[in-house]
């Protein structure tokens, strides 16, 4: 869909594809026939540039027809590059980094006020942990003991145009979240079983919000896209597209 429409950010999508697959493959309590059900788990894709990935899992889960994915980036489509709440199953539109965790914390606080059992999941990029607003939200969530809030950081160590080690180092990353009052676990973000186990174990510390640092590879699944800054913006076309598809199909 990104190839047809000319959408960028394929590397960012592949980076978190396994996380989205585990969440929507059965972990989240969501119902395509009742996308607004008050008892559903909430999900906020804070790294909105990976919208294509969320659209794909939602379509596969039956929130809207799979064919609609081909309208991604097309004139008149509801599928904007950055994720849009026009789509059933999407609660929040994002695209400007550093917004999602605050919104998710608001949702989690509301659930706590209402003693509602559903939980709020928020998928962040490592790059948006440069944003002060992310840490404002982290402080808030810890202060209010939002144990119903689970942040998953797609820790691929590459941001917009360079590796984070060259831009703004985040290490020691787990320690930062811990110091901010969160329960933290580090997992291989492409290992479905490990992701599932971590998600199922949250909250990691009673009374605290949980952070899963998912170690990932940007562009995962396509050898020439992996760990490459180029594929943050490049769109696979022609031979590149065929080669990428062949690799993905070889390892479903």
């Amino acid at each position: 869909m990104t190839s047809v429409g000319g959408g960028a950010h394929i590397g960012a999508v592949f980076s978190c594809a396994d996380i989205l697959a585990v969440l929507y493959g059965g972990f989240l309590r969501v119902d395509p026939t009742a996308p607004k059900s008050p008892s559903r788990d909430r999900f906020v894709l804070s790294k909105g540039h990976a919208g294509a990935g969320l659209y794909a899992v939602l379509a596969e889960r039956g929130f809207f027809p799979v064919e609609q994915l081909l309208t991604h980036y097309q004139d008149g489509s509801d599928l904007s590059g950055h994720v849009s709440h026009k789509l059933p199953g999407v609660d929040v539109s994002t695209g400007s980094l550093g917004h999602g965790l605050s919104i998710a914390a608001g949702m989690a606080y509301s659930a706590k006020l209402k003693s509602a059992p559903h939980r709020v999941f928020c998928l962040l990029s490592d790059g948006e942990c440069d944003e002060g607003s992310t840490w404002e939200a982290a402080l808030f969530a810890a202060h209010h003991g939002l144990s119903n809030l689970i942040a998953i950081v797609d820790y691929n160590r590459i941001q917009g145009i360079a590796p984070i080690a060259e831009v703004i180092e985040l290490a020691p990353f787990a320690e930062k979240w811990t110091a901010f009052g969160w329960g933290v676990r580090e997992v291989d973000g492409h290992d479905h079983q490990a992701l599932h186990t971590a998600l199922a174990a949250a909250p990691f510390v009673a009374g605290k919000p949980s952070c899963i640092l998912a170690h990932t590879v940007k562009g995962k699944g396509v050898s020439f896209m992996e760990n490459s800054v180029l594929w943050h913006y490049r769109i696979p076309r022609g031979a590149e597209f065929d080669a990428a598809l062949a690799e993905l199909e070889a390892h479903p």
Partner: protein, 318 residues
């Protein structure tokens, strides 16, 4: 105005359990009673306005009516993108309350003056913009916003104009309130500075010049009909705001009248002209420095009417 706002919220909170007040660590003493009575409907989010606005959006999407509260530009410009993307784009039921509209904070300094907020906030799709001139309007606007669903901005001034509330007078959101009738000139003001317009009108009346004074408590949506009537029924319109003239009330009025094809005899925008309010002093002092006090308004009216008279004589002589 701040107290009138809080009092209204305190009155209404029991009937509106969905109502939540978020503050960015401001409201010392002022919020005490509200907090004591409704601890579950209050949240001090700390000095973190971006988070406050994002939280407000998340809470509103879950069915709460959320008020965010802080001084000057802190609940608006500081977190403008959260207001645009998270609140407005989602049509979230969040009311942004700024205490210290215009130069209310006086000698505290320009960082605490809100002088571009009306222009910026009114440009956001779906946003309503209220800027009351007196305590009654402030309380009534707050009452309206508790029941209204969707994003809105409420700009509260420290000063309040001494306007008499007519018995049985109803607050009409989206309508201009005519606080004095007159046919020579229209003074259209927003916020507490309307008090200066009234003083100017008093002084001018002694010279036989009668001003119509309008309180534009709702800057968006703007009541074009009342303005069009003022344009045709009075000699000209002067907009008065403790705000930049660019894009604020003056901007809004000129846009509306131009589009309606109604042209006042003359039109003057009184406000800050491409300047920061960097002088130091009380709100009253600053109004004088920036030519926004009653004397400046009266001078402007006299000068314009004199110019109009000159033109009339020239035309008559031809």
């Amino acid at each position: 105005m701040r107290d009138a706002f809080i009092r209204t919220l305190t009155d209404l909170a029991p009937q509106h359990p969905e109502l939540l007040l978020l503050t960015g660590d401001l409201g010392f003493k002022v919020l005490d009673q509200y907090i004591a009575r409704f601890p579950r409907q209050f949240l001090n989010v700390g000095v973190a306005e971006q988070n406050m606005s994002g939280l407000a959006a998340g809470l509103a999407l879950e069915g709460h009516t959320v008020f965010t509260y802080s001084i000057g530009n802190f609940p608006t410009l500081r977190c403008l993108e959260q207001i645009r993307n998270d609140i407005c784009y989602h049509g979230a039921n969040v009311k942004i309350v700024c205490i210290g509209g215009g130069m209310s904070y006086g000698a505290v300094g320009f960082s605490h003056h809100a002088t571009e907020d009306l222009a910026i906030l009114r440009s956001l799709p779906g946003m309503l913009v209220f800027s009351p001139c007196d305590l009654w309007e402030a309380a009534e606007a707050a009452r309206y916003l508790v029941s209204h669903r969707g994003p809105a901005y409420l700009r509260l001034d420290k000063s309040a104009a001494p306007v008499n509330v007519e018995p049985g007078e109803a607050f009409r959101p989206g309508s201009i309130r005519t606080v004095r009738e007159g046919s020579d000139v229209t003074l259209a003001a927003t916020g507490g500075i309307l008090g200066e317009a009234l003083l100017a009108a008093d002084a001018l009346a002694e010279q036989g010049i009668f001003c119509r004074v309008l309180s534009v408590h709702t800057v968006k949506p703007l009541d074009t009909d009342t303005l069009a009537a003022a344009a045709s029924e009075t000699g000209g319109i002067i907009s008065i705001e403790e705000h930049a003239v660019d894009g604020g009330l003056g901007g809004a009025i000129s846009e509306a009248l131009m589009e309606a094809g109604v042209f006042p005899g003359f039109f003057v925008r009184m406000g800050l002209r491409n300047t920061f309010s960097s002088a130091v002093g009380s709100q009253q002092y600053l109004r004088k420095v920036y030519s926004l006090d009653a004397a400046a308004i009266a001078r402007t009216v006299s000068a314009r009417l004199a110019r109009g008279a000159d033109r009339f004589l020239t035309v008559a002589a031809r």
